[in-house]
């Protein structure tokens, strides 16, 4: 038996068990369903308005954008916060104390994050189809685009999420990553096109994955004519590949280094010290 392949299989199984655990936990379920519900309500009320310059429903434009946003958030922030929490409660140290446990842990996380991304996309997409019109849901090409944008999005965001999660020691500092991302949502044309924004703001938005994932999802689910109201008047798949590719490469280069450094420094007394701090916070 090859220890590495055993660990890979154990990691896949781990991801599956964690997925099952999270979907049988009320707190987690609430965390999935509540934001989804809020988004769906927002889209419901936006369905009558139109995208400026077209007769297309603003609600129907928001759905794919929100799917893209969900991908970016799930990949980056959820993974980062899970890493921070797993370090605080000792899950990571447990992996470190197990032979090849770190490999199993990481594979488990990737499986869990990918599955959660898929599930939350389905949670938004399926109910929205009942009240939104104009989405290309019967086209095989649309589903193909959706699939590769989703995969590319996860590759671009998960490693960076791991980097942030490794660098943040204190769960309180998660806000340092969370808040700029909230700001980016407003910049990235998720709920409203950004054609009217000043050029430099548009440039800032286009440096980050959220904008491109929103655009990519729109390119999958919206009719081709809607490309006309995007920046540059096209879906710009090539540019999307470029920017997401840079994030992916950056993440894949940085993540192993930062993860290894974090794992090396993990020890019982560090976990105990964090626990102490957490108890003080609770008081």
């Amino acid at each position: 038996m090859n220890p590495t392949s055993v660990a890979v299989r154990a990691g896949l199984r781990r991801g599956w068990i964690e997925l099952r655990n999270t979907f049988t936990n009320y707190q987690d379920l609430w965390n999935y369903f509540f934001p989804t519900f809020v988004l769906l309500v927002a889209m419901f009320f936006m369905r009558g308005s139109t995208v400026p310059g077209t007769t297309f429903s603003l609600g129907a434009r928001t759905l794919p954008s929100a799917l893209g946003m969900g991908l970016a958030f799930g990949g980056m922030l959820v993974l980062a916060s899970q890493l921070v929490v797993d370090r605080e409660d000792g899950t990571l140290l447990r992996a470190k104390a197990t032979p090849n446990g770190m490999l199993g842990y990481l594979i488990g996380k990737i499986v869990l994050m990918s599955a959660m991304a898929l599930v939350s996309m389905a949670l938004q997409l399926i109910p929205a189809l009942f009240f939104l019109d104009g989405l290309r849901v019967t086209s095989a090409a649309a589903w193909f685009t959706l699939a590769w944008v989703a995969v590319l999005g996860l590759i671009a965001t998960l490693p960076m999420g791991a980097v942030f999660g490794s660098l943040i020691e204190n769960p309180r500092n998660l806000g340092l990553v969370m808040l700029p991302n909230m700001g980016l949502i407003a910049l990235s044309g998720i709920f409203y096109p950004i054609n009217g924004y000043p050029g430099w703001l548009q440039a800032v938005a286009q440096a980050f994955p959220i904008y491109w994932l929103g655009l990519g999802m729109r390119s999958a689910l919206l009719p081709d004519g809607m490309a006309a109201v995007e920046l540059g008047g096209s879906w710009r798949h090539l540019e999307m590949f470029g920017v997401l590719g840079i994030w992916a490469v950056l993440g894949l280069v940085l993540a192993p280094v930062v993860l290894r450094r974090m794992a090396r420094r993990e020890s019982g007394s560090r976990v105990a010290a964090r626990r102490e701090r957490a108890m003080q916070r609770a008081v």
């Binding site: 299989r9 154990a10 032979p99 090849n100």
Partner: protein, 324 residues
């Protein structure tokens, strides 16, 4: 033994250190400009149970973390299962178990799922002598968690959680097990069961165990040898019995006579009692002889170390003791 050479039998002698599961020589640790360990040395043989005692901040956790390979040392020679822990690989990792003080991980997992999952990582390291992992059903029974196997980890009580930590520590059938204050939060029955488990691991499976505890009674029950770490040094190393006998030689004798109570301490308690009975005969009542306990020894040693009297008589006696 005869000197006849048998074909196929290797004649290479074992290197002298081969018997030692733990071999620590002059281990030093410095954080910034603060020295935490000033040259710690000790060894442990296969199947030996060592208790590491010492006041808080003495360097116990640092020492254990260096041995576990979780922390790099500043200087000194350390060999754990024949490997330098700073360079231990996953094969080496598979041969040891670690039970820490404060683990709250995997709260959403079911007990059985978690043990099965963590056990699978050890399967490739199974050998003919040590089949790995420990079968989960059997393991659950061993630590007394069978009734809770399908509970989620966060639903366990403190003592049950601790037993799960121990189960995880031994699921890979370690040759060396680190236990950091393993019985904190145990009720007396759970504590006794745990002690039986430790004896079983050491005696039947030849597991070498290094445990830290503040419970001197527990150390006395479990350990073959006790190490006292204070001020970054090992100030005592020996069996609980020898420790108690050598350090505080005087025994305490209590008795009552004609309704009056007496207390006396004597180096030779037997002779004192013989004389006492010869002199007063039947009027001596409620006779009690209390030998110096491990606790007395511990207090004396730690007090001496902390008050800076390291050249005192106790330390000298100890040096002689460990040279033997």
């Amino acid at each position: 033994m005869t000197a006849v050479e048998l074909p196929g039998v290797s004649q290479t002698p074992h290197p002298p250190d081969d018997d030692f599961v733990l071999d620590v020589r002059d281990l030093r640790m410095r954080y910034g400009s603060v020295d935490v360990l000033h040259g710690v040395s000790f060894t442990a043989r296969r199947g030996e149970v060592l208790a590491l005692l010492g006041p808080n901040g003495a360097g116990k956790t640092t020492t254990i973390e260096i041995l576990e390979g979780f922390r790099m040392r500043s200087a000194g020679e350390v060999s754990v299962l024949g490997v330098d822990p700073g360079r231990g690989d996953e094969r080496w990792r598979a041969r040891m178990g670690v039970v820490l003080q404060s683990w709250r991980d995997h709260g959403k997992w079911r007990v059985r799922d978690l043990l099965t999952h963590l056990g699978t990582f050890y399967a490739p390291y199974s050998t003919a002598r040590i089949p790995r992992p420990w079968p989960v059903t059997d393991l659950l029974d061993t630590v007394g968690l069978t009734a809770h196997a399908d509970k989620r980890v966060h639903q366990l009580s403190g003592g049950q959680r601790r037993r799960l930590d121990v189960a995880i520590g031994i699921v890979g059938r370690p040759e060396l097990l680190f236990l950091d204050e393993p019985t904190v939060g145990f009720d007396p029955a759970a504590r006794r069961e745990f002690h039986e488990l430790v004896h079983r691991l050491a005696d039947l499976d030849e597991t070498t165990i290094l445990l830290t505890t503040h419970d001197l009674d527990e150390a006395e029950k479990l350990a073959d040898r006790i190490l006292i770490l204070a001020g970054g040094r090992i100030i005592a190393d020996g069996s609980p019995d020898a420790l108690a006998r050598r350090v505080a030689g005087d025994a305490e004798i209590r008795w009552s006579r004609d309704g009056e109570r007496f207390v006396h301490s004597a180096a030779d308690a037997t002779r004192f009692v013989r004389d006492l009975l010869r002199e007063h005969g039947d009027s001596v009542q409620e006779l009690e002889v209390r030998r110096a306990s491990l606790e007395d020894a511990y207090m004396a040693l730690v007090y001496e170390q902390e008050s800076g009297a390291r050249t005192g008589a106790t330390a000298r006696v100890w040096q002689q003791g460990s040279d033997r």
